[in-house]
């Protein structure tokens, strides 16, 4: 039983990292129906910026983290301005490819810094160890992940359901021209979405950095883990991102816990989420909370 609980708890913790990453992903999709394949790169940029500030400039990790959040938000904002804005009105495949190209560009740029290869780790900024509840242990960086996720969930949940600007963002996703006719600045909405996505990406970068150190390919890989989470939750649902992320985290852990011994070589956690993804797509094409495409003829 403790075995199961331990799997569950750490599944939730890992899941909330996915959830955090998924949040940023969903933000962009929600506003502009764009799937951002560069999300993993933003995560990396956030993490490395914090590292550079903390180590090269000797800032406290907290302050460095804060600045990194803002810088990455700015980066999100700028990429929208420079790369995505000209793509308005182009087919989806082109927009997807722009984000793929963007991922490659950011990768290249990171390689021109000392962070291209190698492993780095933040100076200690959280207390050693963690808390243990009835034999189940959770470390402080993991708690930080859960905290960040909860914070952003509440923030964005409120924003999209209650604030006028949030509703306007959803309106833009639905029908840009109509939104413009009502005075919504589509450009501002997109830029805002990308900035917010940058912010959450940096938050996930910080958390991942704190938990398992910084390595370019490991950080960017999280950008892929986001997909099962958002498909399960529904591409355009904030709550879905969080629930989807956590479910995927838990399922992964349960797979690793209960399936691995039966599969030669194990490693089922790497594939299990994607199998789940396909199943979800088949049985619930719009995920748990995603809005169904309204198609009337």
């Amino acid at each position: 039983m403790t075995y199961f609980l331990q799997l569950l708890v750490s599944g939730v913790v890992v899941g909330s990292i996915y959830a955090l990453a998924a949040l940023g992903f969903v933000l962009i999709y929600k506003a502009s129906r764009v799937i951002n394949f560069a999300h993993g790169q933003y995560i990396a940029v956030g993490a490395f910026t914090a590292y550079a500030l903390a180590v090269f400039l000797n800032m406290s990790v907290w302050l460095a983290g804060l600045i990194a959040l803002l810088t990455t938000a700015l980066l999100g904002f700028l990429t929208e301005r420079v790369f995505l804005k000209p793509m308005v009105g182009q087919p989806i495949i082109s927009v997807i490819m722009v984000t793929i190209g963007l991922a490659s560009v950011i990768d290249g740029l990171v390689h021109l810094t000392p962070f291209g290869a190698g492993n780095f780790s933040f100076p200690a900024f959280l207390p050693e160890g963690g808390i243990a509840l009835g034999g189940i242990s959770v470390s402080y960086p993991q708690l930080l992940a859960v905290g960040f996720t909860a914070l952003f969930l509440l923030l964005f949940g409120w924003f999209f359901q209650k604030s006028t600007l949030g509703i306007a963002m959803r309106a833009v996703a639905d029908d840009q021209m109509a939104a413009m006719s009502l005075g919504v600045s589509v450009e501002k909405v997109f830029a805002l979405a990308w900035a917010a996505a940058g912010l959450t990406a940096a938050a996930s970068g910080l958390v991942v950095g704190a938990i398992s150190g910084l390595n370019l390919s490991a950080l960017t890989a999280i950008g892929l883990k986001v997909f099962p989470a958002v498909i399960l939750g529904g591409l355009d649902s904030i709550a879905g991102a969080v629930v989807g992320g956590i479910i995927i985290g838990v399922l992964e852990n349960l797979a690793a816990g209960y399936l691995d011994p039966f599969v030669p070589g194990g490693g089922t956690r790497d594939v299990f989420p994607f199998v789940v993804l396909l199943l979800v797509l088949w049985f619930k094409p719009y995920g748990l909370f995603g809005t169904e495409e309204i198609e009337r003829v």
Partner: protein
């Protein structure tokens, strides 16, 4: 006379944390060789290529190298080297990969491939021997990278465990994950005492940290690419007690190769991280083997080509100063440094806890000798 040399490996992409310092090692040693005129009358033109861990790139690079008439080629990944084997056999150009996969030098098509040091298999078996000595009948789990590289020692390890009377409870493949609770708690439940890794440093560090956080009574050990400064830096004090098998001297030891490495690293402006990296040493040795072979070929046959360099390798016995034993090759011996040591992490540094030795058990289980 200008001799072209080429290294093709992953400076970016998967395993680049090892590949990047390795490349630096190759590059710097080459430069040093030219500056010191290591082979009289020969200047080396060293080309360092990033193949992004992509075999098509490796192959293209290799073929270009052949067109450039390199007498010896420095390779990298397990996959890339295995793929090249038939071609290498056909063109007869010696290849020294960074991968220490025993399959590289197993038949067929193995005549021209030379490992710089002991194989992963031998390293893992050496660790198993160590474990068997420490706690006879121990239960062991093997955690490996999900690739040909990671899977390399599994078969030999199973046979060795049988010989040693220890039990391999599980073999798990794992890349970078954020959390290893499931795997580790299960190991603990199944009575595993030792976890032996064949992986890169990142995942191992994460496993060590999780293992410590969960308060599990597991001891960890790993082959060449699991250890080194990276592991210490990433895992912090969770690395304490980690057992590591490698054929190289460490950056803080007083060995001739290491002195050279420090000096070159500083001279060529390498960061401290690179200078301390065992893969920097590794790259230097690979370049060293190539250049030494060219030297012998030039001295002995007066001309440098694939054939003469191959002949040179066949009789090489070079004390590089980088490895814990001399680099020796022969018709039946395609591993360079035949010795290795077991080291243990303690207070942020690895300390040798054995003398250099070769594993007879490995030879027995693998070559049926």
């Amino acid at each position: 006379q200008t001799v072209n040399l080429m290294w093709s490996g992953a400076i970016t992409g998967p395993t680049s944390d090892a590949g990047a310092p390795y490349a630096a090692g190759v590059e710097d040693y080459c430069r040093y060789a030219n500056e010191t005129n290591a082979v009289p009358g020969v200047t080396f033109n060293c080309i360092v290529r990033d193949d992004q861990y992509n075999n098509a790139n490796t192959q293209r690079n290799f073929e270009e190298a052949i067109d450039l008439e390199v007498p010896i080629f420095l390779g990298y990944s397990t996959g890339g080297t295995l793929q090249l084997k038939p071609l290498v056999q056909e063109v007869g150009v010696p290849v020294v990969p960074a991968s220490m996969h025993i399959g590289n030098i197993d038949p067929p098509n193995n005549d021209y491939i030379f490992l710089p040091t002991t194989s992963y298999s031998e390293q893992v078996i050496a660790l198993l021997e160590f474990i068997a000595k420490e706690s006879p009948g121990a239960k062991v789990a093997l955690v490996v990278h999900p690739s040909a590289f990671g899977r390399a020692p599994i078969e030999d390890a199973r046979r060795a465990a049988e010989e040693l009377g220890i039990e391999i409870v599980e073999v798990q493949e794992t890349g970078a994950n954020l959390d290893y609770t499931a795997m580790l708690t299960r190991f603990a439940e199944r009575g595993v005492q030792y976890v032996v890794h064949q992986n890169v440093a990142g995942p191992v560090a994460q496993i060590l940290k999780d293992s410590k956080r969960l308060g599990l009574n597991l001891k960890h050990a790993g082959a060449h690419y699991t250890g080194g400064e990276d592991l210490l830096r990433l895992a912090g004090d969770a690395a304490d007690g980690f057992l590591w098998a490698t054929s190289f001297y460490l950056w803080n030891e007083d060995a001739p190769g290491i002195r050279l490495q420090r000096e070159l690293g500083e001279r060529y402006g390498r960061s401290e991280d690179i200078i301390r990296s065992v893969n920097y040493t590794n790259g230097m040795m690979a370049a060293g083997i190539a250049i030494e072979a060219v030297r012998i070929a030039k001295e002995k046959f007066g001309e440098v080509n694939a054939e003469t360099v191959y002949q040179a390798l066949m009789e090489m016995n070079w004390d590089s100063g980088f490895g814990v034993g001399p680099v020796t090759y022969g018709p039946d011996d395609h591993t360079g440094v035949d010795h290795l040591r077991v080291l243990q992490a303690k207070d942020g540094a690895f300390q040798p806890i054995s003398e250099p030795f070769t594993s007879a058990l490995f030879r027995k289980v693998h070559f049926q000798q």
